[in-house]
């Protein structure tokens, strides 16, 4: 039986995930800050 690839062993996919996660956090912070500033 062929085992699925182990995501933890793929450093590239980990750093790609990190890039998108940090981007999402940045967008979230900006959105909340703008909403709070307008409120």
């Amino acid at each position: 039986m062929r085992h699925p690839p182990n995501p933890i062993r793929s450093e590239a996919s980990a750093f790609e995930f990190l890039f998108w996660a940090l981007g999402a956090i940045a967008v979230f912070v900006i959105v909340v800050a703008v909403i709070e500033a307008l409120a």
């Binding site: 933890i8 990190l18 956090i25 979230f28």
Partner: protein, 310 residues
């Protein structure tokens, strides 16, 4: 404010529903533990106790009294966050084993989340999340909006679990994540927390004016409340760091002993065993497999071949 005056009655959902939801999380865990025990792969009792304690800590942190206090005092809110993101997350991770998680990891969506337990991803996301929520604009927005507050707690728990999974969890680690790298990881965690705690203690400015009325109720100045919150974080993280250093020291000592036993056995029986191979087997927790192979070879009277162990 006397405790009797706390408005617990205003939060019936939180008072009744949250304990049930949190404690219900133990049911699938217990069923899986029973299944594994019947299968001859029992989960160690201490891990089951850790998982149950993690849920209990989560339950206490999300209970109405603590939540009510955390709306009035920054110190109480800090305690709540430390319970959720540090203590509960740590205990929950200690309760997990590979076989326990196997059914979850067969789910493709959950399996993709394994990337969160990569050491670099875990500590960066954990640290960024930690600081972002402590920005005055976000921290106070979370206090005003329940949904945002729930998201704050959820991210503290999720990324707390991720960072503990990276260090202590049962999932495979990258080959470069040696004991030395773990030491760096622990120090980095400590520094990330310490810098924020120092900012709160020595900042000299009230970062969260939301707490001014609550501090007035408790006859404490807002700045003293903030210093106490930073101090609490510093003390809690110091204790955790001491514990982690002890764990790492014992781990290194145990691994050295296990590696030496393997090498001694191989030498006594005339089996060729590379030191790095022994170290790799011990570090990945698969020394039992190497012992089995060595005993087989010793019994057969043939030299060991260099099969990759992990």
């Amino acid at each position: 404010m006397p405790l009797q005056a706390l408005p617990f009655g205003l939060a019936p959902v939180q008072t009744i529903a949250m304990p049930i939801v949190v404690l219900l999380a133990f049911v699938p865990y217990w069923i899986r533990a029973r299944t594994l025990a019947a299968d001859g792969r029992p989960v160690p009792t201490w891990r089951i106790v850790c998982f149950a304690c993690g849920l209990l800590v989560l339950e206490v942190a999300l209970s109405a009294p603590v939540d009510t206090l955390s709306d009035q005092l920054l110190l109480a809110h800090m305690a709540e966050h430390l319970l959720i993101g540090d203590i509960a997350a740590l205990l929950l991770v200690l309760g997990l084993t590979g076989p326990m998680m196997a059914p979850l990891l067969r789910n493709p969506i959950i399996s993709r989340l394994r990337v969160l337990s990569h050491p670099v991803v875990a500590i960066v996301v954990w640290g960024v999340n930690f600081y972002v929520w402590h920005l005055p604009v976000l921290y106070q927005a979370a206090l005003r909006h329940d949904a945002l507050h729930a998201l704050e707690h959820a991210t503290f728990l999720a990324f707390g679990i991720a960072v503990w999974m990276a260090l202590l969890g049962p999932l495979p680690k990258p080959s470069w994540f040696s004991n030395a790298a773990r030491l760096v990881f622990i120090v980095a965690m400590r520094l990330i927390g310490t810098v924020l705690a120092n900012i709160m203690i020595f900042g000299g400015t009230v970062f969260y004016p939301y707490y001014v009325p609550g501090d007035g109720q408790w006859h404490i100045s807002p700045l003293a409340d903030q210093v106490a919150a930073g101090g609490l974080m510093m003390v809690e993280e110091s204790l955790l760091t001491i514990g982690l250093f002890c764990w790492l020291f014992l781990r290194v000592a145990r691994q050295n002993d296990q590696r030496q036993e393997l090498l001694d056995y191989a030498t006594q029986h005339g089996i060729e065993l590379d030191e790095r191979r022994a170290q790799r087997a011990v570090a990945s927790g698969r020394s039992d497999e190497l012992w089995t192979r060595l005993r087989e070879r010793a019994g057969a009277g043939t030299p060991a071949q260099h099969h990759p162990v992990s």
